[in-house]
Symmetry: C2
Subunit: 307 residues, 2 copies
């Protein structure tokens, strides 16, 4: 009870409301009477804090819904343009499916807009007045598209990962990049993010659009390189498993610093005989030009790094 006396009441209130009752009790050894005094406010806030509405029922929304559910949040509604897809997800997390914003509850604490980029603005304009934070989950859409939502705050909650409906992945290890209209909203988004992930970072709209582009190289193009590798082995009766240790070693080395330091292969060696031979082999699949461009890009990057 020593600490409680030197900490301003408002701070305890903030803790009680925003963090976790048990934690407060643990740190401050709060007298039960203090605890009881704040109880009605706490209860109300904590219940509301855990109430989430998902607008969208796609790949990201699915993994997010599971993560929220697992970490003790309640997904109260799932909206989708069609009742069928709203219901497909809602049923899995004991939520209510809706296909009209007329039916949206207004007392949830978080409304996540997990929709294709071009749909976010449209939806933002259709949303009724809400009592919770509205956040979109897009990497390439600026926060400002939510400027006109009628809500106590808005922001961006961008999980940097590739999602597919078939494989729901745990959120613990997924970096969540946050941006918010104001500090209080940021704190609230952070609290929820920290519930489901160990990696939560602030990131403004400008950084985020570059991070999104980074993801295209790191994930989409990398996957395409592996797809082409797969095609080649399949066509020549080679078991793709033989390629896996090479890929794993490539990634493991690349993660040690700047991947460019670990570049190997004919391009970086300027082995023109092999480069020509490979391009020749790829002609029949129309992949020779891409091969040449990629090889050239490897050499250009190496040149630029020397300068």
């Amino acid at each position: 009870m020593l600490l409680i006396q030197i900490v301003p009441k408002s701070t305890i209130g903030l803790f009680l409301v925003n963090v976790n009752l048990k934690l407060v009790w643990h740190f401050f050894q709060v007298d039960i009477s203090v605890y009881k005094k704040w109880l009605p406010l706490c209860k109300q806030t904590i219940i509301a804090m855990n109430r989430v509405v998902l607008i969208g029922a796609g790949n990201l929304a699915t993994s997010l819904a599971y993560a929220l559910k697992i970490h003790g949040c309640s997904v109260v509604q799932v909206y989708s343009r069609t009742m069928k897809s709203a219901k497909a997800l809602a049923d899995k997390v004991d939520a209510k499916a809706i296909d009209s914003f007329g039916n949206i509850v207004t007392d949830a604490s978080y409304y996540f807009v997990a929709l294709p980029d071009d749909a976010i603005l449209q939806v933002a304009e259709k949303l009724p007045k809400l009592n919770g934070i509205v956040a979109h989950t897009s990497g390439s859409t600026p926060m400002s598209v939510l400027n006109r939502v009628q809500a106590p705050g808005f922001g961006v909650f961008y999980p940097f990962q590739t999602f597919s409906r078939e494989k729901v992945i745990p959120f613990n290890n997924i970096p969540i990049c946050l941006e918010a209209s104001d500090e209080e909203t940021y704190t609230k988004l952070e609290l929820l993010a920290q519930k489901i992930s160990d990696i939560v970072e602030p990131m403004n709209s400008e950084q985020r659009r570059w991070l999104h582009l980074t993801g295209v190289f790191a994930c989409n193009f990398t996957n395409h390189m592996l797809s082409l590798a797969y095609s080649i082995t399949a066509m020549h009766n080679i078991d793709f498993n033989i390629v896996k240790p090479l890929v794993l070693e490539t990634i493991s080395k690349a993660f040690e610093g700047n991947p460019a330091d670990y570049q190997t292969g004919p391009a970086i060696r300027y082995d023109s005989v092999t480069l020509r031979r490979h391009a020749e082999m790829l002609k029949e699949f129309g992949l020779d030009e891409l091969y040449n461009q990629l090889s050239l890009s490897i050499q250009k990057l190496a040149q630029n790094r020397k300068l």
Copy 2:
């Protein structure tokens, strides 16, 4: 002694010579007199079997030398054009450094030519008459470049992995692709390969050159994609660690089957707004054309798979 009487003598001889004396004794409970009868042949063969000469002292030669040493083989000599680089590797594995083929021992069992592709043929023509198998370690060079070596047999011993001198990696998990001039040579190469790796596969020159090209996509181009991702994050003050979970998930999903089944991103979604925006962002780095070509290639592959 029961078994030994029904197994043809020649089979025991083969075991004694090619496999392992202890193993033979263990399985057949061979009378010590039988063992003694074969002893001179065994000793000679076993000593020779473990004696390897490395021609080349580069990245692959270095990892191979360590693997051989760890698994009880003796690297007797390391050849390189310069004494300095020969010595750098030889000293690490208690071998003798040589820089002239005049000094090469002729009684080793294996001579591995681990040199750049265009050097293999030249070296093959300079080698003296040898009593052991000569094998090159190149993915893109046909076995036939060794046609004229004076040796009991020749072949290819191709470890499918990316090597760097700074990071010596264990061979256990590296697939070794083998080809040989004849069955006996194949068996001998296989015996050595199985000593150092759990994945040993026969592969002819034609398959091997396609596998080598596969490696360029799976390793060199993949690493380049990560290098470009790294550059973008570095330029925008984003910690590259944030990208790692995405890459790991991409690889993990890609390994579940055909990576093309798990393609995500703006290209496969035909999201032309994002594609244009990304290309625009990349213009200042001269990466817009590469971005467009890669996106197009993703769409082409998807189209071809539908046909």
